[in-house]
């Protein structure tokens, strides 16, 4: 492949306040585009998919690069925190290892120095590696816009490939994760064409914890990437796991159900049929791995 030429022309604006960004987005509409790492935006601009006249650098807004952990409130990760920062932050590693594992699975080390958590979610690719973890950890997306701040649960944030619940003049400022339930364990299993460094063919996050209110004594949450127009929770599989006694038989049944909940497409990375089979395989593997930590 020939090296593509440089970026098309645009004006760069480094925003100092969130209100300044909101105003720009209101005034300029589609012609203005926020960015943080640029690892999605610049590629799309170079490919001629989008042509913003102004790119607004929002990674210097106050607090947008902070990670704050509170033993009651949980974890708040600023939207512009990079994947490497997420993956090695001591509070993330200690209390949300699943999120660290997911962040660490993105692209290459040097790209993870630029790629941000917020950018990954805003871009809303079905393959976004931090989406399944954010779904099963019940993350909430913090948005700031003309009417101030609001929070949207991750389960309601993704609307389609590249489409989110973000309003046209809103920006994402942070992602909030509640405290994980006591005794929880999680794994993110990603299948790419290579062992590491590639977009996922299938990504599966499995998260489980003891819960006396569940007939089985445990609850599991399963998040899937690259197998539907949006990253999603496999809720029918989750129900089986809440109802039936944990163990190989139930796990096989739940993995089968997760496969049925996936509606993948054929693309350059894999066929739909292969993706479905891999949802089953990775879900089963994830359930076994999490169960090993729980039991």
């Amino acid at each position: 492949m020939l090296a593509r030429p440089g970026l098309p022309r645009f004006d760069y604006v480094r925003a100092e306040t969130a209100d300044e960004v909101v105003r720009l987005l209101q005034e300029r509409g589609e012609a203005a585009r926020p960015f943080m790492g640029g690892t999605d935006l610049f590629v799309r601009m170079r490919d001629g998919v989008i042509h913003p006249q102004v790119v607004v650098d929002v990674k210097y807004l106050p607090g947008i690069r902070d990670v704050v952990y509170d033993a009651q409130a949980g974890l708040t990760v600023g939207a512009a925190v990079t994947m490497n920062e997420v993956a090695r932050h001591p509070d993330v590693v200690a209390h949300y290892p699943l999120l660290a594992e997911a962040a660490n699975s993105v692209a290459s080390y040097q790209l993870r120095n630029r790629a941000t958590l917020g950018g990954n979610l805003c871009n809303a690719s079905p393959a976004a590696d931090t989406a399944p973890a954010t779904l099963v950890l019940e993350g909430r997306i913090v948005l700031y816009g003309p009417d101030g701040e609001r929070e949207v649960p991750a389960t309601e944030f993704f609307l389609g490939p590249g489409k989110t619940a973000r309003g046209p003049a809103e920006i994402v400022t942070a992602i909030r994760y509640p405290l994980p339930p006591k005794g929880a364990a999680g794994r993110y299993l990603k299948l790419g064409r290579n062992k590491v460094g590639d977009l996922s063919i299938v990504g599966v996050a499995v998260f489980g914890f003891p819960d006396e209110t569940a007939p089985s004594g445990y609850r599991f949450r399963i998040g899937l990437a690259s197998v539907a127009p949006v990253p999603l929770r496999a809720t029918a599989a989750e129900e089986i796991l809440a109802e039936e006694p944990p163990g190989e038989e139930t796990f096989v049944k739940a993995a089968e159900e997760a496969m049925n909940e996936a509606s993948p497409i054929d693309d350059v990375r894999a066929s739909a049929a292969y993706r479905k089979a891999m949802v089953r395989a990775l879900t089963l593997r994830g359930l076994r791995a999490v169960w090993e930590q729980l039991a």
């Binding site: 090296a3 440089g6 970026l7 760069y12 640029g38 690892t39 790209l111 590491v196 460094g197």
Partner: protein, 157 residues
């Protein structure tokens, strides 16, 4: 078109530059400063031939805007050797013949230097993971990995 006056330290030298908004760090290095170690392999963050250190951490310079490095420090492969003295890693690349066409080498060296700095004694697996964003069409990687191991044995980068 927006122009920006920036001050950036490149390989220890302070540079005062006028750059347009849409210029990448890679273009700035190659076309404004004639620093041609960093290569344009894909312009898309895939190949790693453009890898440089930004404030000590490796980044794909094709994916960074020149205006973003205002006030920061950039090191390219040209800045690794000090007073004509190659680093142990560069020496090891020579010893192991870890170079064929050389197109990937500037990026490989930067990524590997950064690895040895944060992890002076990496396992083979850790070396492979750290270099996954640096593609090489020639060597088959084995010699590159051996070179990094040798440099690590000799006390890091």
């Amino acid at each position: 078109m927006g122009m920006h006056s920036i001050t950036v330290t490149v390989n220890g030298e302070k540079e005062y530059l006028e750059v347009p908004s849409h210029m990448t760090l890679l273009q700035m290095l190659r076309e404004k400063l004639a620093i041609t170690g960093p290569k344009n392999g894909c312009s898309a963050g895939e190949c790693g031939a453009c890898t440089v250190l930004l404030d000590g951490e490796p980044v794909n310079s094709c994916m960074v805007l020149a205006v973003e490095v205002d006030g920061h420090e950039v090191v390219t492969v040209e800045g690794l050797a000090k007073e004509g003295q190659l680093t142990p890693l560069q020496q090891a690349f020579i010893e192991h013949n870890a170079v064929q066409c050389g197109f990937c080498t500037p990026g490989m060296l930067i990524s590997a230097e950064a690895l040895l700095k944060r992890n002076p004694h990496p396992t083979e697996e850790e070396i492979k993971e750290a270099l996954v964003g640096n593609l090489c069409r020639c060597t088959g990687y084995i010699r590159i990995i051996r070179a990094v191991q040798t440099a690590a044995e000799k006390g890091g980068a």
